[in-house]
């Protein structure tokens, strides 16, 4: 079942001259794990905003084309109705803490309070969200006393507690250290395995290569290429424009020049594939 249906999306920010997104068409199936890669300024964040309705409701600007999410047309429905169906998380953990609450537990409840969920139902939902993100032991701490990775997981819990149908994440680990990144990726993987539709913008290509069902590469507001991770991430279209290659692919490419990679073997995108390939060459 198609849960996201974008057709010919063209959007320009209010103060801008050139469109940030220029004719993007994309469909996402229920339960799919879609990754988005691209250079800075390619339109990745704008696409995320469009999925959750911030484009056009929050940013105003000029939008052409159609964005249907869980069957709703984002231009015809209010932002308040969209955000409970599409959860949105982004880079800066600190800015996602509302500041309105003194404990993690209450922070997570913020969204539920806003949509008017009765108090009795809140407790269970919050506890579930905390378990999913592994932060139950942080529940009485102040959100501002936590590490970046912990704060990001609180942000995720705060969104997941609203039970969205689609989870959109805009570079959620780029401001985190390796430990924090791993914690966040763990949660994302878990949610995807539970059947949530996940759309993730990421630079850490190695991780996408392992877990994403499909990858879309954006460039200058348009879709450059889309398909299976292996096909997209080894495509010269990406490397020509200077993005998308994992460290393993780059290493193997160099190795191939020096005849250290098995001739004819496709380039690796993950660590495992690299190890396999290199050990084969050794023999």
């Amino acid at each position: 079942m198609v849960v996201v249906d974008i057709s010919e999306l063209n959007y320009t920010y209010p103060a801008a001259v050139t469109p940030a997104l220029n004719g993007v068409s994309l469909q996402v199936e229920q339960g799919e794990f879609l990754a988005i890669v691209g250079n800075n300024g390619a339109g990745k964040s704008t696409l995320c905003y469009a999925l959750a309705g911030f484009v056009p409701h929050y940013f105003k600007g000029r939008l052409h084309g159609k964005v249907l999410v869980t069957g709703l047309d984002t231009q015809k429905v209010s932002l308040g109705e969209l955000v409970i169906r599409v959860g949105l998380a982004f880079q800066n953990p600190f800015n996602q803490i509302t500041g309105a609450k003194y404990t993690v537990f209450e922070e997570i409840a913020f969204g539920l309070e806003n949509i008017g969920v009765p108090r009795e139902q809140m407790w269970k939902r919050i506890e579930t969200a905390m378990e999913l993100t592994g932060i139950t032991d942080l529940k009485d701490r102040s959100p501002y006393s936590l590490s970046g990775g912990q704060q990001q997981r609180v942000a995720l819990a705060s969104i997941l507690v609203m039970e969205p149908k689609v989870l959109v994440l805009d570079e959620p680990t780029s401001q985190l250290d390796p430990v924090g990144s791993r914690e966040v990726f763990q949660v994302i993987k878990e949610m995807s395995e539970r059947g949530l539709t996940v759309i993730l913008v990421e630079h850490k290509v190695e991780w996408i290569a392992q877990y994403a069902d499909r990858v879309v590469a954006l460039h200058e507001g348009q879709i450059l290429i889309e398909g299976k991770p292996r096909d997209v991430l080894t495509s010269p279209l990406l490397s020509e424009r200077g993005f998308g290659l994992s460290r393993y692919t780059m290493a193997a490419r160099e190795a191939r020049e020096g005849k250290l990679w098995p001739a004819g073997l496709i380039l690796p995108v993950t660590l495992q594939e690299a190890v396999d390939g290199f050990s084969r060459q050794k023999k």
């Binding site: 920010y13 209010p14 103060a15 801008a16 929050y58 500041g99």
Partner: protein, 254 residues
């Protein structure tokens, strides 16, 4: 546009977050000044900024809440002046609607503004104190002649300040000066009634000087305010002018 619509237009989610951040800027800059040991308060930068970016209503709310929050967290004495801060924010918003923060003024105009303003201010203070002393409103020409030296010095200070300090921000600086005078006038009654006319800070020496010359409590408080507030607000408006000049276009499209 009706009042309600005018208010609603000022308040988006972005504005609310801006107000919150602006209040913190007030506090952070105020403390920075304190560490730099400069003889100025500069605790309204955020308020003026919101007025400039989001309109008079938002500016007024920022000022009011800023003093209330400052009172709740740092120093309960400022609480009672929330209405003064609200007016400052509102005036900043009105000044912004007149384009004050976007336009540059030629330097000689700034100098002129500085000179005229300081002359007028000195006139105001002196007539205030002599009125309170003798009950008569003195003639401007008489006052000038009697205190000629003071006026000449003040005029020079005003001209220099306008030229070197304000430079191209003449309009903004002028708006700040006016706002400062209004702030001094409306804060004097509260300062006099609740706090006996003093602030516990160095400017109290001014109050002492005015009282020693025979002026009443309210007049002395007002005079003290008139000496320190216009300069303080002028610098605040100047800094906000610099900020607005430095902002990329998309921030101003609100």
């Amino acid at each position: 546009m009706s009042i309600i619509n005018s208010i609603k237009k000022d308040f988006t989610t972005r504005t609310l977050v801006l107000i919150s951040v602006a209040i913190v800027i007030n506090i952070a800059v105020g403390q920075l000044i304190f560490t730099l040991k400069l003889p100025i308060y500069l605790d309204s930068i955020g308020t003026v900024l919101v007025g400039a970016l989001a309109g008079p209503w938002a500016g007024a709310l920022t000022g009011a809440l800023a003093d209330i929050i400052w009172g709740l967290t740092i120093n309960p004495t400022v609480f009672w002046f929330f209405y003064v801060a609200a007016v400052i924010g509102a005036m900043a918003g009105i000044a912004a609607k007149m384009g004050v923060f976007e336009r540059s003024s030629p330097r000689w105009l700034s100098a002129l503004i500085g000179g005229i303003f300081f002359y007028g201010l000195t006139l105001f203070i002196l007539s205030l104190t002599s009125f309170s002393r003798e009950g008569l409103i003195p003639n401007a020409i008489d006052l000038t002649r009697q205190n000629a030296l003071v006026f000449i010095i003040v005029l020079f200070i005003g001209l220099a300040m306008g030229y070197f300090f304000l430079q191209k921000a003449g309009y903004a600086g002028f708006a700040g000066l006016i706002t400062g005078v209004v702030a001094a006038i409306i804060s004097a009654p509260t300062a006099a009634i609740v706090y006996g006319g003093v602030t516990g800070a160095g400017t109290d020496l001014l109050v002492a000087a005015f009282r020693a010359s025979g002026a009443g409590i309210l007049a002395s408080t007002m005079a003290q305010g008139a000496v320190s507030d216009p300069f303080d607000k002028m610098v605040s408006f100047l800094i906000v002018w610099l900020i607005i000049q430095a902002l990329p276009a998309r921030f101003k499209a609100r």
